[in-house]
């Protein structure tokens, strides 16, 4: 019996120890990390990055993502995944009684820097060229931590020319610290013309060091390299500002398209336009609440839903209030302003005055990299495309459908349209609904950029009117050109005037412009304009 018991414990101990055996150094470090405070953790993490173990890379990757935990009762290191918790060393799934059974092995910024550089040093030998690229770019930040032989080995093995170029930059940065002037100057020549921010930083530091020791020739070399980079950068920054301008223009366009119909085509001064945008954004929120597992798809569902919600509210407003006020712009203005307050308060009562969290799908995040100094953010890129699609669709409806024809007929000559058998009342309601629905769609897009709260519509109402008036009332092309040019002008002014002044300058510009051309950029000509 006793023998059996001893045997049992030996077997169990052996079973427990065996999967850990190859990981002893790593295992020991993990145990140290559990107890260490942030100050000690730094030294421990530095050691961690040098452990020669096949699992070190995985350990660091999970740690830097903040998914590394340990079980409180037996100090077993576990990985917290999205739906399961598994032990790190043996890979067994663990069932937890409570969330408090495990505690995070926390990391702060300094540890993340160490870990990322450690990961990069290992990942540079990965089979996946993308991984190697990522590692090489990370190594630019911590070039001095890499030892020479590893770098040479990586350079020798590297077949991908892009990765090789970045590795040469790493080499260049290291050479800036070399002992002989010749080597340092060679380093500068490697770095000249590179757009990576870290390279520029390294060169700037090198220049400062050269200046401190007054090494004239090197100062000059560094200056030349920096100047070359600067001139490339300034080109890029013009392109970048243009892109920012187009992105801002797309937001203005989205916000204004709906108004181009309700105000531009129908002539209703609709102060509740911003609230239609807000309703669209809240619809996105509700849709996401209803399908929490499909955030990626939620926007596709939210677009038609928001169109319907805002559109129906628009029809109701037209039938209930506005149709009684046609031809009385002041009263329409007051009535729609009242409606906007009612809608805001309704949302405040239903959803609370706090902002709502609308999640951004993964495919909206990140950047499209053209070169290291020019990256286009995906969300803005999609919004530019989306706004143009909405505009095209609307133009199609207006020009190619029966409803569009009736709508144009009613705005041009109401009695004639009516006598041709068009039910002008319903056309009015549907037109207003269309404009409101499109504002709702804009709300879906804006929910990805800004806060979703009861007041969000207020931020867009002025801008929308500005775009429509500037572009020319009643003209969709005018709205497009107006929105894009205002966006670009604003963004080109911003770098040297600041956000506040740029906005003021744009407003002044519009006021002066309207003085000169009261009908905006693209004025409608002929009878429709006269009847305005």
């Amino acid at each position: 019996m006793l023998f059996a018991f001893v045997l049992y414990t030996v077997v169990v101990a052996g079973a427990e120890a065996s999967p850990m055996k190859p990981n002893t150094a790593l295992h020991a470090v993990a145990q140290e990390l559990i107890d260490a405070g942030y100050r000690e953790k730094q030294a421990v993490t530095e050691r961690l990055t040098t452990i020669d173990d096949p699992k070190t890379l995985l350990f660091m990757q999970i740690m830097v993502e903040g998914d590394l935990y340990y079980r409180k009762d037996d100090r077993v290191v576990v990985i917290k995944g999205d739906d399961a918790v598994t032990t790190f060393f043996s890979g067994e799934e663990v069932t937890l009684e409570s969330k408090r059974d495990i505690k995070k092995i926390s990391v702060n910024n300094k540890l993340r820097v160490l870990l990322r550089s450690g990961i990069a040093r290992l990942q540079i030998f990965s089979d996946d060229p993308e991984m190697r690229m990522q590692a090489a770019v990370n190594l630019l930040k911590s070039a001095e931590d890499l030892d020479q032989t590893t770098l040479e080995e990586a350079l020798d093995k590297e077949e991908n020319s892009d990765v090789r170029d970045v590795l040469l930059l790493v080499k260049g940065i290291r050479m800036l610290e070399a002992d002989t002037e010749k080597e340092r100057l060679q380093g500068v020549s490697y770095l000249s013309g590179s757009l990576y921010p870290d390279v520029r930083g390294a060169l700037a530091n090198y220049r400062r060091a050269a200046e401190a020791d007054s090494r004239t020739e090197e100062i000059q070399a560094a200056d030349e390299a920096l100047k070359k980079i600067e001139s490339l950068l300034s080109l890029n920054s013009v392109a970048e500002n243009l892109y920012f301008g187009l992105a801002l223009g797309a937001v203005l366009l989205l916000a204004a398209i709906g108004l181009a119909i309700t105000f531009g085509v129908m002539g209703v001064i609709n102060m509740a336009h911003g609230e239609m945008i807000m309703l669209g954004a809240y619809t996105t929120y509700v849709v996401q609440q209803l399908m929490p597992d499909h955030i990626g798809m939620s926007l596709a569902v939210a677009v038609p839903a928001a169109f319907l919600v805002s559109g129906l509210v628009g029809v109701a407003i037209e039938r209930g209030v506005i149709r009684h006020l046609y031809g009385r712009p002041l009263e329409t203005l007051l009535a729609t302003f009242g409606i906007s307050l009612v809608l805001q308060q309704a949302v405040r009562s239903i959803f609370s005055p706090l902002n709502r969290e609308v999640a951004t799908p993964d495919w909206m995040a990140g950047t499209f990299m053209i070169n290291p100094a020019l990256e286009l953010t995906f969300n803005r890129l999609y919004i530019i495309i989306f706004s143009l699609m909405v505009l095209a669709l609307l133009a199609l409806i207006l020009k190619r459908t029966l409803f569009g024809l009736q709508m144009r007929a009613v705005t041009m000559n109401r009695p004639m349209a009516s006598s041709m058998g068009i039910r002008t009342g319903w056309v009015d309601a549907l037109t207003f609904g269309l404009g409101s629905g499109i504002a709702g769609i804009a709300g879906v897009a804006l929910s990805q950029l800004t806060n979703v709260g009861p007041n969000m519509g207020q931020a867009y109402i002025i801008d929308s009117f500005m775009v429509v008036v500037f572009g020319g009332v009643g003209n969709l092309w005018g709205t497009l050109v107006g929105a894009m040019s205002l966006g670009v002008v604003n963004k080109l002014l911003e770098p040297w005037a600041g956000a506040v002044v740029a906005k003021i300058l744009v407003l002044i510009f519009i006021i002066l412009f309207i003085q000169k051309r009261p009908r905006g950029l693209f004025a409608l000509k002929g009878r429709a304009a006269d009847m305005g």
């Binding site: 903040g66 702060n108 970048e240 500002n241 005055p353 953010t377 800004t450 963004k491």
Partner: protein, 437 residues
């Protein structure tokens, strides 16, 4: 109220007596039986987001105090008014609270401009107000106790942390365009220069309230950060403009390891509005975080969840400041044996109450608190991990030492100085009027 018959009134007061009525109900009771507490927080308009929480905190504290039997044997009666994020209305509502409702104390205000609007009224009518939000300093009123952080209890320690612990040499001071960020950044600029940071290494940027298009600014920050020196952003960006700012940071790939952002106006409440995954590692400086480990904090959080009926609601620094202010006032009333404004004020000095992070907060003669300063890193769950704390409590300084115009000023509301802006070099008192509107 005139038409209510005596019978119903008696009945009503009986019900109140029997059930220790929930807070928020105000019935014209004889003034002698209750101590009236004014609550002056915006419940509508742009500031409602932040201030409604503080109203609820005060009401919760009153309810708890009443459960313990009130103060001096009297029940506390809340009088809630809504100044609607409208600065002049703050002054009117204060007058209403002090003259018509005759409240004994006011808890209120959030923005500095609302406080500046209230100031002349509380001073004229000799009211007593507790102000619970971090602010730019350069003020000390006889009638106001400041339980939020002064610049030396938030901004300066945060910059020290950046310089000493993270080795930051280049600073972006980004803020919303109004009095708190402008004054704070002025103080920080002069502090940074005193630390040997050159003018070239400081970039200052202001944006309007509710700014939503951060593309250019974030891109500028990125470029500014590529000069070979460790760079950090010190953010006094206010309110919900933070959400698009952080979103843009994440989108343009500004990682906290490279360019950390330390914010003075972003707490748990602000973070509960969005997905914090891309923000992990960015920093905030406060005197309190919900994640602080102490028994008092656990109790406070449990009481808050119980009161508000929602386990997901977070606690934040201005709530702790409200908690401290209320506890101090309650203790001062007990100590003075009266709710009379002047007696309570004299009793306030030196009062110690436990704060929620495990230490004690002390009220100083300059109407500011001594409390600890913490730095936290944002986590995935919208909470903060405390990565740094001052070794001891920091005494709030009403007049900063880093601006030439206020370096010589101190505030001491006890004899013999008895002055809110006493000039130590000329030995004169500038009066209680506030400098630098």
């Amino acid at each position: 109220m005139k038409k209510v018959s005596l019978k119903t009134l008696i009945k009503a007061s009986q019900i109140i007596g029997m059930t220790a009525m929930a807070a928020g109900v105000s019935i014209a009771n004889a003034a002698d039986d209750t101590i009236k507490v004014g609550v002056l927080h915006s419940l509508s308009g742009t500031m409602a987001i932040s201030e409604t929480t503080l109203k609820d905190t005060v009401l919760m504290m009153i309810e708890e105090q009443n459960k313990k039997g009130g103060l001096l044997g009297k029940k506390l009666e809340p009088v809630v008014v809504d100044p609607a994020s409208n600065w002049p209305l703050f002054a009117e509502k204060t007058r209403e609270l002090l003259e018509k409702e005759d409240v004994d104390v006011i808890f209120g205000c959030w923005t500095s401009v609302s406080r500046k609007s209230v100031l002349p009224v509380v001073e004229e009518l000799n009211g007593l107000m507790f102000y619970p939000v971090q602010y730019e300093g350069e003020e000390s009123s006889y009638n106001v106790f400041y339980t939020g952080a002064a610049p030396n209890q938030q901004a300066i320690p945060a910059v020290d942390y950046l310089i000493n612990d993270l080795g930051v040499e280049r600073f972006v001071l980004a803020g919303t365009d109004y009095v708190y960020p402008r004054t704070t950044n002025k103080i920080l600029e002069s502090y940074l220069k005193s630390k040997g940071v050159s003018e070239k290494d400081i970039m200052v940027n202001y944006t309007p309230f509710g700014h939503s298009d951060w593309q250019t600014i974030v891109s500028d920050i990125k470029k500014f950060g590529a000069a070979g020196k460790k760079t950090a952003v010190v953010s006094t960006i206010n309110g919900d403009a933070n959400v698009p700012f952080y979103k843009e940071l994440a989108n343009q790939g500004v990682a906290s390891e490279e360019i950390p952002v330390v914010a003075f106006s972003v707490g748990e409440e602000e973070l509960s509005g969005f997905d914090t995954e891309p923000l992990v590692g960015h920093l905030a400086a406060w005197n309190y975080f919900q994640s602080a480990e102490s028994e008092a904090n656990d109790e406070f959080i449990a009481a808050w969840h119980n009161y508000i009926g929602d386990e997901d609601r977070v606690t934040n620094d201005p709530m702790e400041a409200t908690y401290i202010g209320f506890s101090m006032w309650a203790e001062a009333v007990e100590k003075a044996g009266s709710a009379d404004v002047d007696k309570v004020r004299s009793a306030m000095y030196g009062i110690e109450v436990p704060n929620l992070t495990g230490g004690t907060a002390v009220m100083n003669e300059n109407h500011h608190l001594s409390k600890p300063v913490l730095i936290g890193e944002i986590q995935e769950d919208g909470q903060f991990e405390i990565v740094w704390a001052t070794d001891e409590e920091v005494e709030g300084d009403a007049w900063t030492d880093y601006l030439p115009e206020s370096a010589n000023l101190i505030s001491d509301w006890t004899a013999p100085i008895n002055c809110g802006n006493y000039n130590t070099s000329t030995k004169t008192c500038g009066g209680s009027a506030v400098a630098g509107e």
